[in-house]
């Protein structure tokens, strides 16, 4: 546990943590020594030898003074270490996260990472204060006393030493029993949490179906289940904790019995016995308390594990040299037999497209042309777009821009080439203007406004009280989905990069804005554009259409060529045309 704790810190930051641990152990040992000194003091007092007693009290005072100094030092140092660790963990997480592939940041992960970087970090940095300290005190101090006991009476020391394994076994058994129920508890809690959110999110449907009044079975069951598991945990947990208490008690009782027998047999001095009993009874409590600490320890361990998991996720390898683009200023894109599959959990909650892999995709997108990606959901359209932006690295083959493998282009250079407009848009809690300016921080105000106008953000600015300087709230909460999309489009327009990647999910726009936005996209001429196309207009006007299915481009050509070929694309086109002409109700006399 402690080793794992140190492993999330790098060497420089782990040093103070180690130092703190050393101070703690030091404190615990001194603490034990003070108590051991009770033996000679009592012996002298009982013997009526006051001057010897005063000598020992002076020694005890000296050790106590040192103990206090160490206590003070570890307390101050511990605080300092806590803050240092907070900063170090934030730094490490920040540095590492910044180097992870974009593909890593699926919606689900981002939420968890946010929680990890705040609550998780506090939990871990709180570890020394809340867990390690009591644990060290509960183990090291009694151990010190047991060792010191050797100097006074080896038989009593032996009784204590023999007690240790009994306590240890009791501790292990108890922990194991507790862990078993904890898994069940976690599972039941997760099930209930999921059902609760489901219940809230589907309230309209559930009510309309009469399921809110008569109770939603699945949720009721989850509550019931959580209750049952809780009951079982108590049934297992209470005896488990008692078991541990009993094992500690057994040792105490044994020491009592052995000691008293020896004292009665006059082979052990009464002062030694009494002092010893004082020590034994005093340390029952901290030891028993460790059983419950174990549970808290595991909870913190979970956060620790998750932080480690993030830190151990391999970042995208950066090219060693500062490789220039061989293609000069011509940024055509080439997929050379690209194979790619998502790992096990893959895109998490990613779109249906996200699951598909590419199975040997090969095509070229000439510089300065517009290519429309078309195909059923799950055919790999989003994957193609994301591989260009290097969300992930390919498994086989290569993606090249201007003849250079994207893996050989430094990330910053690659990103400078691409203006992405993807479906998941994030806005910062800043003004509209500042959010657009992220596209190109050096842009003039006029340029920002112009980009905003082209993406029809001007209309949003007009509506809001502070115009372009209106704040959009955390994650852009003030704006609707369509409005956020327009801001993101403005960013891309402002960035003015040679390659435009566009996921055309502009369905949230009303017809007027849609037309306007289409027109402004058309003005971005001379760019290499790759569009995941839904709109017929975009498709027809594209220089090249790639029809994807099952991760492979099955047809490539212009609209006319593909229609003439009368294949997959032609069928798709006929379906879409029929859909376009659809009327919800065929007018009975409406015409």
């Amino acid at each position: 546990m402690i080793r794992e704790f140190l492993s999330v810190l790098d060497d420089r930051d782990a040093k103070p943590a180690r130092g703190h641990l050393a101070l703690l152990v030091c404190y615990a040992v001194l603490h034990g020594i003070v108590f051991v000194l009770l033996v000679p003091v009592l012996r002298a007092l009982f013997a009526g030898d006051l001057s010897t007693a005063w000598t020992w009290i002076a020694v005890l005072a000296g050790v106590t003074a040192v103990t206090c100094v160490v206590h003070y030092a570890q307390s101050m140092y511990g605080f300092d270490v806590g803050l240092k660790m907070t900063r170090a963990l934030h730094r490490r997480l920040g540095d590492h996260v910044a180097a992870l592939p974009l593909g890593w940041f699926s919606g689900n992960r981002v939420g968890r990472l946010g929680q990890l970087a705040t609550t998780g970090v506090w939990e871990v940095t709180g570890l020394p204060a809340h867990l390690i300290r009591p644990l060290v005190m509960a183990v090291v101090t009694p151990a010190t006393i047991a060792v010191a006991m050797l100097f006074f009476d080896w038989r009593m020391a032996l009784a204590l030493v023999l007690g240790a394994p009994v306590i240890y076994v009791g501790y292990r058994v108890t922990s194991r029993l507790l862990v078993r129920t904890e898994h069940e508890i976690d599972a039941a809690a997760a099930e209930f949490g999921g059902r609760a959110v489901e219940f809230a999110q589907n309230q309209a449907v559930l009510r309309a179906c009469g399921r809110a009044e008569s109770g939603y079975r699945a949720l009721d069951d989850a509550i019931e289940r959580q209750h049952e598991v809780g009951t079982r945990q108590i049934r297992v947990g209470v005896p488990a904790l008692l078991l541990f208490a009993v094992s500690v008690q057994l040792v105490v009782a044994a020491v009592f019995v052995v000691g008293v027998s020896l004292a009665l047999g006059a082979s052990l001095g009464v002062p030694e016995l009494l002092a010893l009993l004082v020590l034994v009874t005093r340390f029952v409590d901290p030891i028993v308390a460790t059983a419950e600490l174990g549970a808290a320890m595991r909870a913190a361990g979970n956060s620790l594990g998750r932080i480690r998991e993030v830190l151990e996720t391999p970042p995208l390898p950066e090219p060693a040299g500062d490789a220039a683009l061989p293609g000069g200023e011509r940024f055509d894109i080439e997929f050379d037999d690209v194979r790619f599959a998502y790992e096990g959990q893959g895109g998490g909650d990613g779109a249906a497209d996200g699951r598909a892999a590419l199975a040997g995709a090969a095509f070229r997108i000439p510089a300065g042309t517009t290519t429309a990606l078309v195909g059923p959901s799950g055919s790999g359209k989003s994957t193609v777009v994301r591989l260009i932006a290097r969300f992930w690295d390919v498994d086989g083959g290569a993606v090249r821009i201007g003849g250079a493998d994207v893996r050989d282009i430094p990330t910053e250079r690659l990103m400078a080439l691409i203006a992405p407009v993807f479906q998941d848009v994030y806005l910062f809690d800043a003004t509209i203007e500042e959010n657009i300016r992220i596209g190109r921080p050096t842009a003039t105000e006029a340029e920002v406004r112009e980009a905003g106008r082209l993406a029809r953000v001007d209309e949003i600015a007009e509506r809001l009280p502070d115009g372009w300087r209106s704040r959009v709230g955390e994650g852009g909460a003030v704006l609707s989905g369509g409005e956020r999309q327009r801001v993101s489009l403005a960013r891309a327009i402002l960035k003015d990069a040679p390659i435009v990647l566009l996921d055309e999910a502009t369905a949230a726009l009303d017809p007027r804005n849609e037309v306007a936005v289409q027109q402004s996209l058309a003005t971005m001429s001379g760019r290499t554009k790759l569009i995941i196309a839904h709109r017929l207009r975009t498709i027809v006007h594209a220089d090249q259409i790639i029809f994807l299915d099952g991760g492979e481009p099955v047809e490539i050509g212009t609209h006319e060529q593909l229609l003439a070929a009368d294949g997959r694309y032609a069928r798709f086109w006929r379906d879409r045309n029929r859909a376009r002409g659809w009327r919800l109700v065929k007018g009975g006399g409406a015409r």
């Binding site: 603490h31 307390s75 609760a196 009993l277």
Partner: protein, 597 residues
């Protein structure tokens, strides 16, 4: 949320904070388990007193063994009492633990049921995305936070308070002068605690703010990283994040340091070694003066050093109670959210004529959305709502299934105001299919027959067939028994069709429909359209229209602009009127004309 996460400085007692204001809701919320808690508290008190037995026994043992002629039988009796005391103590503590945890477990289930029952009666409009998160926090996290209070804190508080008090009383009985020597350092700590509490209280708000800032910076950094990377701004965003982290650390240093030093010193004053030193020094003097026997020092050495640990524990318990209070307050707020009033004397609609009668509505006083909207939906006819985005189409449509109640005017079905119709009765008349579909994590069959749990398999299949989704379901590993989200993973369009099948089976005469449903998934658009056409046939329809041509044949088109009906009529009439509708149509045609090849 900012105030919730507490990063406590390492070492020593938790930072003293202000005492929590007694939350009114907490008492009421834990009322159902009050008797159990009292029992647990009594047991904890008995256990705490029993925990003194071994210490007292050692003293008695010493008296006996040091006497000139120890009585062996009496010695063993004392040993037995010591061991029995321990047994009694752990039994009491174990039982108290079991009782309090059982109470807590019961309370958790009780509170969850209570909250869920309350949720079922809140206005539908309350269930926004944000509030779905609130629900989870309330029923899961907040209920768990109260777990600490009920399951642990009560017992811990009682034993932490009883043990030192009982010990002090006993010591007082043994020798009051030595008792005073034992606690000589306590006032130093107490004085510090009072001062520090007052001092740090002033900064608690600032602490919350500092914590809030770093949380915001972390969340922004993490959530925005994709954007930031894509636009080559990683370094800058990273800087903001580390700056926030540095600021936080600097603030903590400034805030805690002045308190930390005296705290470290004073907590050393009450540490066991110091108390032991005080007892032995004072004791040696007392013995030298002949005031007490040497053996009388034993109980002070034994019990004196154990006085402080419970004090520290009390500090922690205070923190637990604070956060439980905050959690209880949040649950209280949720439970206090006013519910929809169910009609005292529900009336049954006569027929399915729908009337909007001078309806005003807004999401709060500042944001009025609809102004004086009137319309009549005759049975079996189609009414389309059109207008630019933000005109109030979706809002108007959501009033009919009573997601919200109108501010002024009324909406009637079959002549009866919606507010006078019992909920179950209303949903027998009004159904809806919106763009935002989330299926429930249950079998596909149960999803389809959600509104009619008694429907047989044939009815379910026939609905699925009409909704063009039967083949999709058949292809699943367990067919209709496949569980959504587990072995049934639907694309957006397929999920739409399942929800249409559900509406078909529910078979309500009035239906509210979002036409955007049809293009939620461009690839299965045609199939969804067929399903929707099937669903629309023969019902009273209120359609939110985004693509005008799909509703060109509607019996009635209401053109909304900024929450008012600015035009109404049929397609041809509206085109002739050459107003807003005509302009919208022209913008839509633009697309049609260009692809018309």
């Amino acid at each position: 949320m900012s105030g919730e996460v507490e990063a406590e400085p390492s070492g020593g007692a938790p930072p003293p904070g202000p005492e929590p204001a007694a939350p009114g809701g907490l008492k009421e919320l834990i009322a159902p388990v009050k008797s159990s808690l009292v029992l647990a508290a009594v047991l904890a008190a008995v256990g705490a007193i029993a925990s003194l037995a071994p210490f007292v026994a050692i003293y008695e043992l010493a008296l006996e063994l040091l006497s000139p002629d120890p009585d062996e039988g009496r010695v063993w009796t004392v040993v037995a009492i010591a061991v029995l005391g321990l047994v009694l103590r752990f039994l009491c503590e174990g039982t108290a633990f079991a009782v309090s945890h059982r109470a807590d477990n019961r309370l958790q289930a009780h509170l969850r049921r209570r909250v869920v029952a309350h949720l079922g009666r809140l206005p539908l409009g309350w269930f926004t995305e944000k509030n779905a998160g609130t629900v989870k926090t309330a029923v899961q996290d907040d209920v768990l936070a109260m777990h600490h209070l009920v399951g642990h804190s009560v017992v811990e508080f009682v034993s932490s308070a009883t043990a030192p008090v009982a010990a002090l009383l006993y010591l007082l009985f043994v020798d009051w002068r030595l008792m005073l020597v034992t606690i000589v350092t306590l006032p130093i700590y107490a004085a510090f605690y009072v001062i520090a509490t007052r001092k740090s209280g002033e900064n608690v708000a600032q602490y919350g703010a500092a914590l809030g800032r770093i949380n915001a910076a972390v969340i922004e950094f993490v959530q925005g990283i994709a954007v930031v990377k894509a636009f080559g701004q990683t370094r800058r965003a990273h800087e903001r994040f580390t700056t926030a982290s540095d600021d936080y650390v600097a603030f903590m240093e400034k805030w805690i340091s002045p308190v930390l030093k005296p705290q470290s010193v004073t907590s050393a004053c009450v540490s066991p070694p110091v108390i032991l030193l005080a007892v032995l020094t004072g004791g040696a003097i007392f013995v030298g003066q002949g005031w007490v026997r040497a053996v009388d020092l034993l109980p002070f050495a034994l019990l004196g050093v154990g006085l402080t640990a419970p004090l520290v524990a009390l500090g922690y318990t205070g923190n637990d109670i604070r956060s439980a209070g905050a959690a209880a307050a949040r649950i209280g707020v949720l439970l206090a959210t006013p519910t929809m009033t169910d009609p005292a004397e529900p009336r049954v609609p006569a027929g399915n004529l729908v009337e909007f009668d001078h309806v005003d509505f807004g999401y709060g006083p500042e944001k009025q959305v609809l102004h004086d909207v009137s319309a009549v939906l005759r049975p079996g006819t189609v009414t389309a709502l059109v207008g630019p985005s933000g005109a109030g189409k979706s809002t108007l449509a959501s009033l009919l299934p009573r997601f919200f109640d109108v501010d002024r005017g009324s909406i009637r079905i079959g002549g009866v105001d919606l507010r006078d119709v019992a909920t179950a009765e209303l949903y027998r008349h009004v159904g809806f299919v919106f763009q935002d579909v989330r299926l429930l994590r249950m079998s596909v069959r149960d999803n389809i027959r959600l509104a009619r749990p008694d429907a047989d398999d044939a009815a379910v299949e026939s609905a699925a067939r009409s909704a063009q989704v039967h083949d999709v379901v058949q292809a699943l590993p367990r067919g209709y028994d496949s569980v959504v989200g587990e072995d049934a993973k639907f694309s957006g369009g397929e999920a739409q069709r399942v929800s249409i099948a559900r509406a078909l089976l529910a078979d309500t005469p009035v239906l509210v429909l979002d036409e955007a449903t049809a293009f939620a998934d461009a690839q299965s658009e045609a199939a969804i359209q067929d399903a929707l056409s099937e669903l629309a046939a023969g019902r009273t329809l209120l359609v939110i229209a985004h693509r005008l041509h799909t509703v060109a044949d509607a019996d009635q088109i209401l053109v909304l602009d900024e929450g008012r009906v600015v035009e109404r009529g049929r397609h041809a009439d509206l085109l002739r009127a050459n107003g807003l509708y005509a302009r919208l149509w022209a913008a839509g045609e633009h697309d049609v004309v260009e692809v018309g090849a």
